[in-house]
């Protein structure tokens, strides 16, 4: 009989839906490139400041073109741009990870709760609130929150401007996760296996944990990776506008802003952090695309 053997045991990896690493890399070179690129940037951000911690603020000969001594040149105060780019990486990537994480948790939780709620009006009001938050243009809302929190406010060892940026970004992003989670929850709630579980008498907590959570988390996680790109770009934009992370703390957008006045003679101050920014964004979006098409293909 030529048909597949349906009675035999299904291997674990296929059951859980985790493709073998080899398969993933082989099938999607984009994913491999993205991951490698991101890895390199993370490595740079983590390792380089450790090698020479003082280089970030050390003054020297200003406006030197890239050379062996200074791979990215020096800025208007003679600081090594490469060291600053690497240090800035910690901040930008750090915000992306922590910020996305916070938005993810808050948004997904609230969205799932809204989706589960038995009372229609709770859900309706919640959705209007979500819509309202989403209506504010990202940058504008963050600016308002930055003003409210105070851009020069520090929080212990965390540099000036970072708390404001963090709060601003999370406040604008949680709504998207909430919307996604609610949509998923609503759709899944009516599926036969969930209804059946309810009828059997499983507690809501158990249903959420075993039947809703995996799907919801998976969808939101995919969005989170794309969101990380936005976070990095937004952090840089805010610093560029002077409302985000404040100097002298290095931040890609901030460095670009400082270098702007010297654009014609010292292009490297602005464009090399910009390149790093773009490459980070690119690697994240390659990973997102690869994950999305893997999901689509599997379905």
């Amino acid at each position: 009989m030529g048909t597949a053997n349906l009675e035999g045991p299904v291997p674990l990896s296929r059951r859980v839906g985790v493709p073998a690493l080899r398969n993933v890399v082989g099938r999607s070179p984009a994913l491999a490139v993205g991951a490698v690129l991101l890895g390199a940037i993370v490595l740079m951000a983590v390792v380089v400041p450790l090698l020479d911690p003082g280089a970030v603020d050390r003054l020297g000969t200003p406006l030197q073109a890239p050379s062996w001594a200074h791979p990215a040149g020096t800025d208007e105060l003679g600081r090594d741009v490469f060291a600053r780019i690497a240090a800035a990486g910690r901040i930008d990537l750090g915000i992306a990870v922590v910020g996305v994480g916070a938005s993810f948790v808050i948004g997904t939780l609230l969205g799932t709760l809204a989706g589960l709620s038995a009372r229609g009006w709770v859900d309706a009001i919640f959705m209007r609130v979500v819509d309202a938050f989403i209506a504010f243009p990202f940058t504008i809302l963050v600016l308002v929150i930055v003003v409210v929190v105070g851009p020069s406010r520090t929080f212990g060892p965390i540099p000036a401007g970072l708390p404001a940026t963090f709060i601003g970004l999370v406040a604008t992003s949680w709504a998207w996760y909430a919307r996604l989670a609610r949509g998923q929850t609503l759709a899944l709630r009516e599926r036969d296996h969930v209804v059946a579980s309810r009828l059997i008498g499983y507690s809501t907590l158990r249903i959420v944990r075993r039947q809703l959570a995996p799907s919801v988390v998976r969808v939101n996680a995919a969005y989170a990776v794309a969101d990380a790109t936005l976070f990095v770009i937004a952090t840089a934009s805010l610093a560029f506008l002077g409302a985000g992370v404040q100097p002298p703390t290095p931040e890609w957008g901030g460095i670009m802003f400082e270098g702007r006045s010297y654009l014609q003679n010292a292009w490297w101050i602005t464009f090399l952090p910009g390149l790093t920014l773009a490459l980070t964004g690119l690697s994240l979006s390659l990973i997102t695309d690869a994950l999305l098409s893997a999901k689509a293909a599997k379905r």
Partner: protein, 320 residues
């Protein structure tokens, strides 16, 4: 006759009602945001050196001593009269005049950006979906990824470097204030902002065209003897345009936010520059006014998009 019209427009009225609710919540959020400042807003404006009397006077002027709900009713009442308050820093200027003088600049950039994005994005998206040549689709998808990874302000800086500083063909920034000279001043900013919108349009059109192409009716049309050319122009294209409307609507808010940053790069006197200035000066009323107006515009645009969709897609129009 009348009941029939009412029945048909019921879903649209519901949507308009929802939009109103969202608008109200926007007002509430804007109101609350500014008032949850840790510390005293009046002191924040005047600085630590101000005298207690000056601070007290400012507090009275801003009605900060009243209970919160009363402040809100005052605020909302003024709003309904179109009064957004006056600038705290320059008391003679009304917030409304700040907003209305700067919004047209931002608007012209956004309009041009949308035009560029649709006029270039749609053909590219169609090409990527329908071309049989091997490298085209991959090439376009790569370009889309790269574009999306480049923030508008970086793209703007690159454009300034290339076209303004190196080649000198376009201005690096500023604003002459009258048409048609204005056009060359919004060209680069719009292209920079389009770098964010065009790839989204391309991606949407490409996906839509691919989906449409797979649809049975395309195959059925071919089987009837219609030519590919005709089918693409009269059937694939219109069906691919619907999602473009959606994506433009979804990203309008992002477009506004991007415009803010682009204005900073090119020194355009639009809403963004006003906002950044207000942020630096702690001009609370102006900040509040701008945030409110932009959010309301977004809500309005989303409503228009919904209504537009009802017009364009006959499936949503009537229910058989």
């Amino acid at each position: 006759m009348a009941p029939r019209i009412l029945r048909r427009s019921r879903p649209l009225l519901a949507r308009a009602g929802q939009a109103l609710a969202v608008a109200f919540i926007v007002v509430v959020i804007t109101f609350l945001l500014v008032r949850i400042t840790p510390g005293d807003p009046a002191r924040g404006i005047l600085g630590t050196r101000a005298t207690t009397d000056a601070v007290a006077a400012l507090r009275a002027q801003l009605h900060l001593n009243e209970p919160l709900w009363q402040q809100f009713t005052d605020y909302f009442g003024a709003l309904l009269h179109g009064d957004l308050g006056n600038s705290v820093i320059t008391p003679g200027r009304s917030v409304w005049s700040v907003v209305s003088s700067s919004f047209p600049v931002t608007l012209s950039v956004i309009v041009l950006t949308t035009a560029i994005a649709t006029l270039t994005g749609i053909p590219i998206g169609l090409w990527a979906a329908l071309s049989r040549r091997r490298g085209v689709d991959v090439g376009v998808r790569t370009a889309v990824s790269v574009s999306l990874a480049t923030p508008p302000f970086l793209f703007g800086l690159v454009l300034v470097f290339v076209f303004a500083l190196t080649l000198g063909v376009l201005p690096a920034g500023g604003w002459p204030g009258s048409w048609p000279q204005n056009f060359s001043y919004i060209l680069l900013p719009s292209v920079a902002l389009a770098g964010f919108l065009t790839p989204l349009v391309v991606r949407t059109v490409r996906q839509a065209a691919l989906d449409v192409n797979d649809e049975e009716f395309v195959e059925a049309a071919l089987a009837r003897g219609l030519q590919s050319r005709t089918i693409v122009a009269r059937h694939v294209l219109p069906n691919s345009l619907l999602p473009v409307v959606t994506v433009l609507g979804l990203n309008f808010a992002g477009l506004l936010g991007g415009a803010v940053v682009v204005e900073a790069v090119f020194n355009l006197p639009g809403i963004g520059t006003q906002l950044v200035q207000a942020v630096q000066q702690r001009d609370y009323t102006v900040i509040q006014g701008i945030a409110l107006m932009t959010a309301l515009v977004v809500v309005a645009v989303n409503l228009v998009v919904d209504l537009l969709y009802a017009v364009i897609d006959p499936r949503t129009r009537r229910r058989s």
